[in-house]
């Protein structure tokens, strides 16, 4: 594809990888990715209103089509949670539903034509815009970090401070190897949120990159490349639909598993 001035593929991709940012303080950390926040918040509001409009007047009578669909999703998530965790799931169910729907909706931005939103917004003078929040490490890491904090909280609540400390220092090798145990447990603890965040981020980022490369092929100016690009774009789009659903599902299931595991005694 082309913008006002013709640009090469690497320029095109670099341009697409730039965020719409606002500097809110000194230093690199105090930067807000306005595009990421805006899209994710819009979806948060859409999901909330959508579910709330049915939950508000949920009745046990004959459900409308919309209510039946919402209930289908809720029952699916509830079933997944109950498979993993057999306890008080006041938090786990809603958490799983939130994770699943939010990630799914944010992922779905990936199948919109890669240039659609940035081009539309460039008409209003917005130079950079990344439309897929889950292709940002900030979004996925924010979610996995929240789940990490909940994991720690539930570990303490289920086992008590003493019990949790004992587990951290004595498992899996027994009390004589306490430092090694601590190291192992810390690695396990850290690896969970990191792998959770990286998996989703990596999948979506890679998917986006492939779309960019195919879009570059389409815009390369050769008829053969144009044809190959269109076919490739369609094929990758269909495959990406599967990835989107699977990644949202994996993120949900792993979140539930991590929190459920935290409440189990070894």
């Amino acid at each position: 594809m082309s913008t006002e001035a013709p640009m090469g593929l690497s320029e095109y991709i670099t341009h697409h990888l730039g965020n719409l940012t606002v500097q809110v303080g000194p230093g690199g950390f105090w930067t807000l990715q306005v595009d990421t926040l805006a899209v994710s918040l819009i979806f948060a509001v859409i999901i909330s209103l959508w579910l709330w409009s049915f939950a508000r007047r949920a009745s046990s009578g004959v459900p409308s089509r919309g209510q039946a669909f919402v209930e289908l999703v809720v029952e699916f998530v509830d079933g997944q949670v109950k498979d993993v965790f057999h306890g008080d799931s006041r938090l786990l169910g809603p958490l799983a539903l939130t994770v699943f729907l939010w990630v799914l909706f944010m992922n779905l931005m990936d199948v919109l034509p890669i240039d659609a939103i940035p081009r539309a917004l460039s008409l209003f003078g917005v130079e950079h815009f990344r439309a897929v929040p889950t292709a940002e490490i900030t979004t996925t890491f924010a979610m996995s970090l929240t789940i990490f904090v909940l994991t720690i909280f539930y570990s303490f609540r289920a086992k008590g401070f003493g019990g949790y400390m004992k587990e951290v220092f004595t498992e899996p090798f027994g009390p004589w190897l306490a430092p090694l145990n601590l190291l192992m447990n810390l690695i396990e603890m850290v690896s969970k949120p990191v792998s959770l965040a990286m998996r989703l981020f990596g999948n979506m980022y890679a998917g986006e990159l492939v779309f960019m490369l195919l879009a570059g092929m389409i815009g390369a100016g050769s008829a053969v490349l144009f044809g190959l690009g269109v076919v490739g774009y369609l094929a990758w789009g269909i495959f990406e639909l599967l990835i989107i659903l699977i990644q949202a599902f994996i993120f949900m299931v792993l979140s539930v598993v991590y929190i459920a595991m935290a409440q189990q005694h070894h």
């Binding site: 930067t31 890491f141 970090l145």
Partner: protein, 156 residues
């Protein structure tokens, strides 16, 4: 790409979304679902119960019909029997009445015959007496007597 303050914003948004879902979405929907499940289970159970009851009612009805038919047959038989009895009795009565009437008629006949015989005897006697008086008033003449006596005999 690098971690920045967006992280904080996303954490807040995520936490709020979970909180909202936990308070306003999950409980009412799950309540509705479990309530409907209970309703459906109750409905199925009620249907099953109704089916069994209907079956029982069917057999009961058949039973009643059978009993009623049997009773009707009994009543019919009894009525037939009674009618026969009544007819028998009427016939017997009639025969008895006929016999009584015949006896009465016979008695009447005999009485009347008796009466007639008595009257005849009286008449004969008085005739004999009158004949004897006539004979006694005249001289006894064998030939005449004979004639008179013959006359008498003929009269009796």
């Amino acid at each position: 790409m690098n971690l920045n303050a967006t992280l904080i914003g996303e954490v807040i948004a995520f936490a709020l979304l979970i909180w909202f879902c936990m308070h306003f979405i999950w409980p009412p929907l799950l309540n509705a679902i479990s309530e409907r499940q209970k309703k459906i289970a109750d409905g199925l159970e009620a249907a099953e119960r109704a089916r069994v009851e209907l079956k029982q009612a069917g057999t009961q009805v058949a039973d009643e019909v059978r009993k009623a038919r049997q009773q009707a047959n009994e009543i019919l038989g009894q009525a037939q029997q009674q009618a026969n009895q009544v007819m028998e009795k009427a016939r017997a009565d009639a025969q008895q009445e006929v016999g009584r009437q015949q006896a009465v008629a016979q008695a009447n006949l005999e009485r009347m015959t008796q009466n007639a015989r008595e009257q005849l005897r009286d008449q004969v006697a008085s005739l004999a007496v009158r004949g004897a008086e006539k004979i006694l008033q005249r001289e006894v003449d064998p030939a005449v007597h004979k004639a008179l006596l013959d006359q008498l005999v003929a009269e009796i």
